[in-house]
C-alpha cells in the first residue's frame, strides 16, 4: 500500500493586524517547507528621492509622513543625522525633552500593538473587539496607555499623528509648566498599570519556541537606549553608527518592494526583544525588579517574549517620562541655531520596532543632496522569514492548514511589522541589449 505525500499550500493574500499591506505564501512538500515568501507588495514610497533638493529644515516634517505610528523616530533620526552633518551639538536639556518625545511614541506604539494587534492571537480571538468582551479592563488599560503616549507626543509635537514640533537643532517651542502638569500626574498614576501590564503579558499563553538569532540594538552610555552612537550585537559587534554600511547590507528579493537586511550576510533581529536582550542591565532598578517578578528572563531566545519586552518598554517609558517631566529641564531657547554647510551625517535611533538609520549629504546651501533611510521592518524581514521556517517546523507541519496559517500570522504579527515604513526602496536594474 502506498501513501500519498502531503502537499500543503498556504496563502495569506492579505496579512491582517499589521501596519501596511503584505502577504504570505508557503509551500510544504512531504513535511518540508519548499517555498516561503513574505511578500510585500505595497508600492514603494520613494521618500529618499522626495528629499533630494529640499531644504534641511523641511526634513523633519517630510520624514514624519513616512509613518503615522512612529513619526517621532523618523524626525529624531533625521535631526541627529543633519546635526552631525552640520557639526551641531544639542544641549543636554533639549536632548531630555527629545527623550520625553520618544517615550510618548514608544508608549503609544507598544500599548497599541500589545492590546489591539498581538494579544488577540495569544488569547484566541480574531480581533480586539472580540477580546474586549472577555478582557474589557485590559483593553481599556491599553487604550489609556496609548492615549497617554499620544498626549506626550502632542505636548511636544502639537499633534500626535505626524507631529510638527521638532526641528533640526531642537524644538520650535517647549510646553509651559501649566500645560504639562496634568500630564505629569497622569504619568504618575500610570505606573501601577504599566507594572501590571508586564505581569499580564508574561502570564499570556505564549508558545515556547526557542531559536538562535542575532540581536542588534543601539548602545547608550547614559542608560537604556533610545539614542546612542554605537551599535552592538549579541555576536560581539560593537561599531560606531556611521560604520553601519560596512557591516550591514540590504538586498532585494523579487517578491518584495522592501529590501531585506543582513548583518555580515545573515538575518538579524531589531526591536524590543533585541533591545532587552542586549540592554536589560541598563534599565532602572525598579523596571528590572518587575522583570524578575514576571518570571521571564532576558536575554531570551523565545521570539514570543517580544510582547513581554514591549510591555517592559511601556513601563520604562512611563517611568522615564515621569522622571523627565518631574525635572522639567530648563531651556532658554529650545533650539540651537544651525549654520548649514556641505557635509554628510548619520543618525540612528531606536524606533518602537528597532533601529532606524538615516544618512544625509547636504550642499553648502543646506539642501539635501542624497538621503538614505533604513527602517526597522526591512531589517527584520529576512529574520521573519527565518523565524517562520523554524516556528512552523517546531509547531508541526502535519497540522491542518487553518492552524498552520494562524500560527504563521501570529509569528509575523509578533514582530509588529510596519510594512508601510519598509517599502521605501525600488531598485531598477536595466539590462540593455547591445545595439
Amino acid at each position: 500500500m502506498t501513501e500519498r505525500k502531503r502537499e500543503v499550500r498556504i496563502q495569506v493574500p492579505v496579512l491582517t493586524r499589521v501596519e501596511g499591506e503584505g502577504a504570505l505564501d508557503i509551500a510544504i512538500h512531504d513535511q518540508e517547507i519548499t517555498e516561503l515568501r513574505l511578500r510585500i507588495f505595497e508600492p514603494p514610497r520613494l521618500f529618499e528621492k522626495f528629499l533630494e533638493g529640499r531644504d534641511y529644515q523641511e526634513v523633519p516634517d517630510l520624514v514624519a509622513r513616512i509613518c503615522g505610528i512612529c513619526p517621532v523616530a523618523y524626525q529624531m533620526s533625521a535631526a541627529q543625522a543633519l546635526e552631525n552633518a552640520f557639526a551641531v551639538k544639542v544641549p543636554a536639556a533639549v536632548h531630555e525633552w527629545r527623550r520625553l518625545f520618544y517615550c510618548g511614541e514608544w508608549l503609544q506604539s507598544h500599548a497599541l500593538h500589545i492590546h489591539l494587534l498581538a494579544a488577540p492571537d495569544f488569547l484566541g480571538f480574531n480581533s480586539v473587539t472580540e477580546m474586549a468582551g472577555k478582557y474589557p479592563d485590559e483593553v481599556r488599560r491599553g487604550l489609556r496607555l496609548q492615549t497617554l503616549g499620544n498626549d506626550i507626543m502632542e505636548l511636544l509635537g502639537a499633534r500626535s499623528v505626524h507631529p510638527v514640533g521638532a526641528r533640526i537643532g531642537g524644538f520650535h517651542s517647549l510646553p509651559t509648566a501649566e500645560k504639562y502638569a496634568p500630564l505629569l500626574q497622569r504619568l504618575r498614576d500610570a505606573h501601577d498599570e504599566a507594572r501590571a501590564l508586564v505581569l499580564w503579558t508574561a502570564g499570556l499563553p505564549l508558545p515556547d519556541d526557542e531559536q538562535d538569532f542575532c540581536s542588534v540594538a543601539l548602545h547608550d552610555r547614559a542608560g537604556y537606549g533610545m539614542y546612542g552612537d554605537r551599535l552592538i550585537s549579541s555576536e560581539g559587534l560593537n561599531i560606531a553608527i556611521d560604520e553601519y554600511p560596512q557591516h550591514f547590507s540590504e538586498f532585494q528579493v523579487p517578491y518584495s518592494t522592501a529590501l531585506h537586511g543582513g548583518l555580515h550576510g545573515r538575518p538579524y533581529l531589531v526591536g524590543p526583544l533585541a533591545r532587552l536582550n542586549l540592554n536589560a542591565a541598563r534599565l532602572p532598578r525598579g523596571v528590572q525588579e518587575v522583570i524578575e517578578a514576571s518570571g521571564v528572563c532576558f536575554p531570551s531566545r523565545n521570539m514570543f517574549h517580544s510582547i513581554v519586552a514591549r510591555a517592559v518598554e511601556v513601563l520604562f517609558a512611563v517611568q522615564e517620562a515621569t522622571r523627565i517631566l518631574a525635572a522639567a529641564p530648563a531651556v532658554d531657547v529650545p533650539y540651537v541655531e544651525i549654520r548649514p554647510r556641505a557635509g554628510a551625517g548619520v543618525g540612528c535611533t531606536e524606533a518602537p520596532r528597532g533601529i532606524l538609520w538615516h544618512r544625509y549629504e547636504t550642499g553648502d546651501d543646506g539642501r539635501i543632496r542624497s538621503a538614505r533611510i533604513v527602517p526597522p521592518t526591512s531589517q527584520n524581514q529576512a529574520r521573519i522569514e527565518q523565524d517562520l521556517r523554524n516556528a512552523l517546523q517546531a509547531f508541526g507541519l502535519d497540522r491542518d492548514e487553518p492552524a498552520l496559517r494562524l500560527h504563521a500570522e501570529t509569528v509575523i504579527r509578533n514582530y509588529d511589522p510596519c510594512i508601510s515604513c519598509a517599502t521605501h526602496f525600488l531598485r531598477l536594474n536595466i539590462k540593455r541589449s547591445p545595439t
Binding site: E21, G68, L112, T129, A132
Partner: protein, 158 residues
C-alpha cells in the same frame, strides 16, 4: 467635561477633510453658544482609534465624517449600521465603524451615539470639498439640533 461631544473625524487631505471642515464651520456658526455653557463641545479627531478618548465622559456623541458618494447628502446612522471588519487589516484600517464597535464592546461610550455622514465625491478637489460642506451645513446643523433635542428629552424622562 461636556455632555454632548461633536467630533469631526478626518485629516486635512481632500475628501477626508469634510469632518474637520464641518466642525470648523459649526464653531464659526456659534453652535455651542446656543446651549447652556459647558454642555456642548466640538472637536477634530484624526484617527478613529482616538475616538475612545475623545468620547470619554460624554453622554451624547455625534461623529461627523466624510461618506463616500457625492449623491448622498447628510446621512444619519447608528454605529451598528456602519460596516466593520473583524479582521482589521492594520491600525490604519481601524475605521469609525471598528472604533465605535470597540467602544461599545467595552461599554465605555456615551449612551447616545450617532454618526452623521457627509456625502462627498472621493475624487473631489479640496475647494469643492469645502464648498460641499458649506452647502450641506444647514442640513447638518438641523440634524445635530434634532439629535441633541432627542438626547435632552430622553435625559429628562429618566
Amino acid at each position: 467635561m461636556t455632555a454632548v461631544r461633536i467630533i469631526g473625524v478626518g485629516s486635512p487631505q481632500a475628501a477626508d477633510s469634510a469632518g474637520w471642515i464641518a466642525i470648523e464651520a459649526l464653531e464659526r456658526q456659534g453652535l455651542a453658544a446656543q446651549y447652556p455653557a459647558g454642555m456642548l463641545s466640538l472637536r477634530q479627531c484624526r484617527a478613529p482609534v482616538h475616538l475612545y478618548q475623545a468620547l470619554a465622559g460624554s453622554q451624547c456623541g455625534i461623529i461627523v465624517d466624510a461618506l463616500a458618494g457625492a449623491a448622498t447628502p447628510v446621512l444619519r446612522l447608528t454605529p451598528e449600521q456602519l460596516q466593520t471588519r473583524s479582521d482589521l487589516a492594520s491600525v490604519h484600517g481601524i475605521g469609525v465603524g471598528e472604533a465605535l464597535a470597540l467602544i461599545q464592546a467595552l461599554g465605555s461610550g456615551p449612551a447616545a451615539l450617532t454618526v452623521l455622514g457627509i456625502g462627498i465625491d472621493v475624487q473631489a478637489a479640496p475647494a469643492l470639498v469645502e464648498q460641499r460642506v458649506v452647502e450641506l451645513l444647514p442640513v447638518l446643523s438641523q440634524c445635530i439640533v434634532r439629535i441633541i433635542a432627542e438626547y435632552v428629552a430622553a435625559a429628562e424622562q429618566t
